[in-house]
Amino acid sequence: MSETNGKTVVISATDLTKRFGDFIAVNAITFEVHAGEIFGFLGANGAGKTTAMRMLCGLSRPSAGRATIAGYDVYTQTEKIKKNIGYMSQRFSLYEDLTVSENIRFFGGIYGLSDKLLKEKQQALLETLGMQEMATKLVGSLPLGWKQKLAFSVAIIHEPEIVFLDEPTGGVDPMTRRQFWSMIYDAAARGITVFVTTHYMDEAEYCDRISMMVDGEIKALDSPAMLKKEYGVESMDEVFYLLARGAKRNDG
């Protein structure tokens, strides 16, 4: 992997583009994410965030441009990419009709963990979350907050280089949200790079750096503090509002 300013680059995108017929969903975006960073990938609905994330996860083939994830090329090495990343979204995380431990064993198996390692990890995971008594409960019966925390832990059970989080805290109560973010902090401290999208602007503040997509392009890329200074406002909410207001793709 390459280095920039002494920091290892784990995600690198240059002029990454995705076209659907005449419609350019993602228009030549260029950015880098460094190891151990918490990188916020923001943008309004329809701005192209999800499409961009899909390309980075190796789920969608770019129309043009280059990108490497954990050093692997998104065109030719998608299987290697998938082995080295974790993924969690708001819509789907775990199987509702399997128990907690069944889910852990299943996903651990998919990520290629040996039985011995899996057993250790499962034990540690349940302890950290305080869920030892819930190991045999069906995931569907858990409250949303527990589900999301469990899903996150499972997404990083194989200690991937990067974990992609797609609006992980939507609709969750404020306390659980904070617990979730302290889990994210712990993961980042262990060296896992976190690539997260969110609609909560206060969560944007927890990120080391933010990028904002508007109409398929990256219109801002910097730390929250620098962005607030640049736009002369007090909160990320305001930054977002200023940048999103001029968007054409919000209308209809």
Partner: protein, 310 residues
Amino acid sequence: MNGIILENISKTYEKGTVLAVDKVSFDVRPGELFGLIGPDGAGKTSIFRILVTLLLPDSGTATVCGQDVVKNFKILRSKIGYMPGRFSLYQDLTVEENLRFFATVFKTSIAANYDLIKEIYVQLEPFKDRRAGKLSGGMKQKLALCCALIHRPEVLFLDEPTTGVDVVSRREFWEMLGRLKQEGITILVSTPYMDEATQCERIALIQSGSLMSIDPPGQIIDQFPEPLFAIKGDNMGALLVDLKKSPLLSGCNAFGDYHHITFKGDSASQKAHLLQQLSINHHQDVELKQIQPTIEDCFIRLMEQTKANV
């Protein structure tokens, strides 16, 4: 009068094993803009469905516009407007077709109450021949609102109308609600976004099926028991860890660019103590200031209290 009254409403699912709503009572005054604030699973949607006559409560009574929601549901179904959680209009009909359809269903026409929806509809008008499924999130929501208003309801029920919608549209939506309030329509809105709470006249904070507080937002904030402080430093992650360990603090929560803390004893004297401790632990650029609590601070505090009481 067009108010809403709930008395000890309870609702269970799965043959009584899941308690979704636990003896909830509150009232919404005629013409009020009332917010039901709480996360997913708190019971908001169940309460809404009971009030719009779609679900029967297990126990308790509720009236809307003076009519019992169970016995007089037929009357109510022509007096209220309802916007359920997800986008629930016809994706393959155009904007105009959807509107005209709902107008007909409510035995009225678009023209009859056009003045009520005009300000919202003018934004949709350029797209009136577009299929509703092809609109953006914010536009869909505006259309749904128009369809809920087309018959000039006495009470408007909006269940999480801003979820999944971008920041700009969310702001515009609340501005529209403010204008509607002036027409005398009673509005009950639910939302998981705490920052929207301040736009309501009164709010009820709900968690796990029970209400934690019912008051105007300002009063809830005033009821926050201690002074609240915001603190930041050069390494927020490490700062949070140290703050949580500090014996001087009674509470500490991350809040984006600042952490919010409350002191155990008298804050005036403890402040300096804390700053000293932090500099010993090599925290630089520490900034500490008193702030007014937000609804989210209050919500968390109430959650912690409820947990302690259990």
